[in-house]
């Protein structure tokens, strides 16, 4: 390890319990000055708990936190905490109804006097934004910013407290490729200015890209801390999962030439999102959709399932033509889908796994509008086993599950009615490696059963299971790549560089 003697922050022997669960078990981390230190681990490894302890939001049951060798300030002394550590949380702490300027200086809007001087506040905010090279008007409404811009505001706010240590908790989870590389450029620039960072991500490539040191947590314990170059990819995955593991291996499938077309689209267009899309998916085929955040791929997928209403064109599912922009009619035609944002559209957190997973087939579980709970239980148990959902049973509320398992429930719901066409949007966002494997495996299982699938993903690795990948750029399908493409080939197409 380099420069341990200059630890900016050190957490020693931390134990934290929440009721019966042990979130951290005698775990610790030491972050050297000027390092970009990755913290990785599967869902539930204790990363988020460590973040809230390092930022002074929670008190450890045992152990201590040191900043530059000094004991951490009292929990109530927020200002002292903020001058030592800043955090860009996983969940946005931007208040949409307020201006960017006020968000930057929330609860410290005044300078000396008691009255808020809005003009001065805006000028101060603009100063901070300019200082960190964030090209956003301080007077604009925070709710109108893109996710990337909000994150930049959060980073600028974090730094404006004078902290030289920032925690970035899964900052890339919601960004698209170009935005992530801009974020990394910014992180490198900050590091050159001497800022120390702790970086949390599920994407191991990102760790290799921007971090110097990596710490792995598993099951609430510290497993290993190592310089990044000394820990190859496989060893890192092994440390995370506790077993030697490799990335998901796409299976060798072949689409039968005579397989029926289960999903067909012609001339589909939605103003401002995509135009003139033609697409045909055969049974047993997985078609990938790739493209940057503004490419329209998500809009297209959402139109297929009826979440959006396209202006022109037709959609055919299994020979039937569902009404455009109507989800029930798409489901009825035999379509299953996993929406982009599971928290938003994927599940009802307070309802049980059984209820969530069987929602689309509720009418088949009983007669005359009743639902037989025994039958639902049986179905749900089957799904839990099939998708390897880690749970106490079908009655557990989905809100209590980790991200990966909640996503499996969403996929279970999509597969509940044995759909002949499946549309899956970013299924692996924010889930760990093991869950990722299970999710992609289930999509391939569905294809093996004869379903046709459309897989939209920001992750190149996910797209490896596809028989072909359609690349969208500015709302049009610009390229089709058969199996066997290389990363650079696909990225170039996504950026619109190749013809």
């Amino acid at each position: 390890m380099t420069s341990t003697e200059l630890a900016v922050v050190e957490a020693r022997n931390i134990t934290k319990r929440f009721g019966p669960t042990v979130a951290l078990d005698n775990a610790g981390i030491t972050i050297g000055a000027g390092q970009t230190h990755a913290l990785v681990g599967r869902n539930g490894a204790g990363k988020s708990t460590l973040v809230s302890i390092l930022t002074g939001l929670q008190r450890p049951d045992q152990g201590e936190v040191l900043f530059a060798g000094e004991p951490a300030p009292a929990l109530a002394d927020r200002d002292a905490w903020r001058s030592r550590v800043a955090c860009v949380y996983q969940r946005s702490t931007i208040i949409p109804a307020l201006t960017v300027a006020e968000n930057l200086f929330i609860n410290r809007q005044t300078e000396g006097g008691r009255l808020i001087n809005w003009r001065a506040l805006r000028a101060r905010a603009q100063n901070v934004l300019d200082q960190y090279g964030v090209a956003i008007d301080a007077g604009s409404q925070a709710g109108d910013l893109s996710i990337e811009q909000r994150q930049l505001v959060e980073i600028a706010r974090a730094l404006s407290f004078g902290a030289r240590f920032i925690i970035l908790d899964e900052p890339t989870a919601q960004l698209d490729g170009p935005a992530i590389s801009r974020l990394f450029d910014r992180m490198r620039a900050l590091r050159e200015q001497g800022v120390t960072m702790m970086f949390i991500s599920h994407h191991l490539e990102e760790v290799y890209e921007v971090c110097q040191t990596v710490t792995v947590f598993r099951d609430a314990r510290h497993v290993i801390t190592s310089p990044v170059p000394d820990l190859p990819h496989d060893a890192l995955v092994a440390a995370m999962t506790g077993e030697a593991a490799v990335a998901y291996q796409a299976r060798n499938r072949k689409v039968k030439a005579k397989a029926p077309i289960v999903l067909a689209v012609s001339g589909l267009g939605l103003a401002g999102r995509f135009q003139d899309v033609d697409l045909q998916v055969r049974g047993g085929e997985i078609v990938g959709l790739a493209g940057s955040g503004s490419s329209g791929k998500v809009g297209l997928a959402e139109s297929l399932v009826g979440l959006r209403r396209p202006d022109t064109g037709t959609i055919t599912v299994n020979g039937a033509t569902p009404r455009l922009g109507d989800v029930p009619s798409a489901l009825k035609a035999g379509l299953g889908f996993v929406p982009q944002d599971r928290h938003h559209q994927g599940f009802v957190p307070l309802l049980s796994i059984g209820e969530n997973a069987t929602m689309p087939i509720a009418h088949k579980l009983g007669r005359f509008g009743t639902i037989s709970s025994a039958r639902r239980r049986t179905r749900a148990e089957g799904m839990i086993e099939q998708l390897d959902i880690k749970t106490t049973g079908p009655d557990q509320p989905v809100g209590d599950l980790s991200g990966g398992n909640a996503q499996k429930v969403v996929l279970a719901r999509a597969l509940a009615d044995d759909p002949s066409a499946l549309v899956v949007i970013n299924p692996t966002a924010g889930v760990d490696i093991k869950a990722k494997r299970a999710l992609l495996g289930s999509v391939e299982d569905a294809a093996a059963r004869g379903a046709g699938a459309v897989l939209v993903s920001d992750e190149l690795d996910d797209l490896r299971i596809c028989d072909r990948v359609l690349v969208m750029f500015h709302g049009r399908v610009t390229k089709e790549l058969p199996r066997g493409w290389t990363d650079s080939e696909l990225v170039a197409a996504m950026e619109g560089i190749s013809s």
């Binding site: 702490t93 949409p96 109804a97 929330i106 109108d144 590389s181 950026e495």
Partner: protein
């Protein structure tokens, strides 16, 4: 590289100057008010006279104070239905400490000068109790204050035996009836308090923290705002304002009936929401809430001048609130939430 620099500029482009219009969002009801003024002048020539408009203001001043209280609570992301019961109960109980048994009092006959402070104290206590249940016991504000609406009103009915109180000390009714510099004292008081509210929520940290709490309580906590303490203060201020509204209403009517304030809460929410205060918290302004009160007051006045029978007023009321909502939605251009 040049490509990424270009896209950098594209995605980070400064949002347009259109956002500057944001500050006028408070005023989306102004066109509605103008329409009402014009319509009113056609209905009856008396409408636009200073006397009538002053009358409108005085009639609405008590309701306006409750709207002010509710707007503060709504902006902070909470709810208080019990305010309407406080409007009746706080003055009734305070007065009963003063007046003799023969007039319906407790027989304690404390000095009359203490009646108004006592009334405000009762309002503050109700607010504090609401806050205690909602914040310490972590109960739903809606259900707690719904229960408190019934409890507080029930207390008034029980203590007064359902009778109206008429023998009130003069000092108690003074504020609701007096004229200062040609305008009713109630209008001055309400105006000053609204100005204070506008200033507090616009230019003071404590006031701005209500928006932070209502918009994203976790973020507010992370920013060092003492969320529970601020909310508690807001509930106490709300209860106090409702009690003061009770004082003004009592003075205007010269007595406290058993159902003073009953049913107000619908008008209060209507005024706050058409004034642009969001039921989800974090959005809206005190000035906007004031325009909401004015719309309600003008509609009521026009209906009275037009001689609409009481039985039909409710219907017209509701319909006009819906129309006002639609107009402000069109003028403001934003989806209501």
């Amino acid at each position: 590289m040049t490509d990424s620099a270009m896209s950098d500029r594209r995605t980070l482009a400064r949002p347009g100057a259109g956002l500057r219009l944001g500050r006028f969002r408070d005023l989306t009801l102004v066109p509605v008010i103008v329409v009402l003024l014009i319509a009113g002048s056609f209905v009856d020539p008396v409408f636009l006279t200073p006397g009538n408009l002053t009358n409108v203001l005085q009639q609405q001043s008590a309701l306006a104070l409750v709207v002010l209280a509710e707007a503060l609570i709504l902006i902070a992301g909470k709810f208080d239905l019990s305010l309407e019961s406080t409007v009746g109960m706080a003055p009734a109980v305070a007065v009963m400490f003063v007046i003799p048994v023969s007039a319906g009092g407790f027989g304690l006959e404390i000095p009359a000068a203490l009646a108004i402070p006592l009334c405000l104290l009762i309002g503050a206590a109700i607010g504090a109790f609401n806050g205690f249940l909602i914040l310490r016991f972590q109960l739903s504000a809606f259900v707690v204050t719904l229960a408190m609406l019934i409890v507080v009103h029930g207390l008034q009915l029980g203590l007064t035996g359902g009778k109206s109180l008429f023998a009130l000390p003069e000092s108690f009714t003074y504020l609701g009836g007096a004229n200062w510099l040609g305008l009713p004292a109630a209008v001055w008081i309400t105006g000053v308090l609204f100005a204070a509210g506008i200033a507090a929520l616009g230019y003071f940290r404590a006031g701005r923290s209500l928006y932070a709490i209502g918009g994203n309580a976790d973020a507010a906590r992370a920013a060092g705002i003492r969320v529970e303490r601020v909310l508690w203060v807001v509930f106490i201020v709300g209860g106090t304002l409702a009690a003061l509204a009770g004082v003004l209403e009592t003075g205007r009517l010269g007595g406290i009936s058993a159902n003073q304030g009953v049913g107000w809460i619908f008008m209060v929410f209507a005024a706050a929401v058409i004034g642009g205060v969001s039921m989800d918290g974090g959005k809206g302004t005190i000035l906007g809430a004031l325009t909401g009160v004015l719309v309600i007051g003008l509609v009521e006045n026009i209906l009275t001048l037009k001689g609409v029978p009481g039985e039909w007023k409710q219907l017209v009321y509701g319909a006009i609130i819906l129309v006002a909502l639609m107009i402000s939605r069109l003028a403001g251009g934003r989806a209501q939430d």
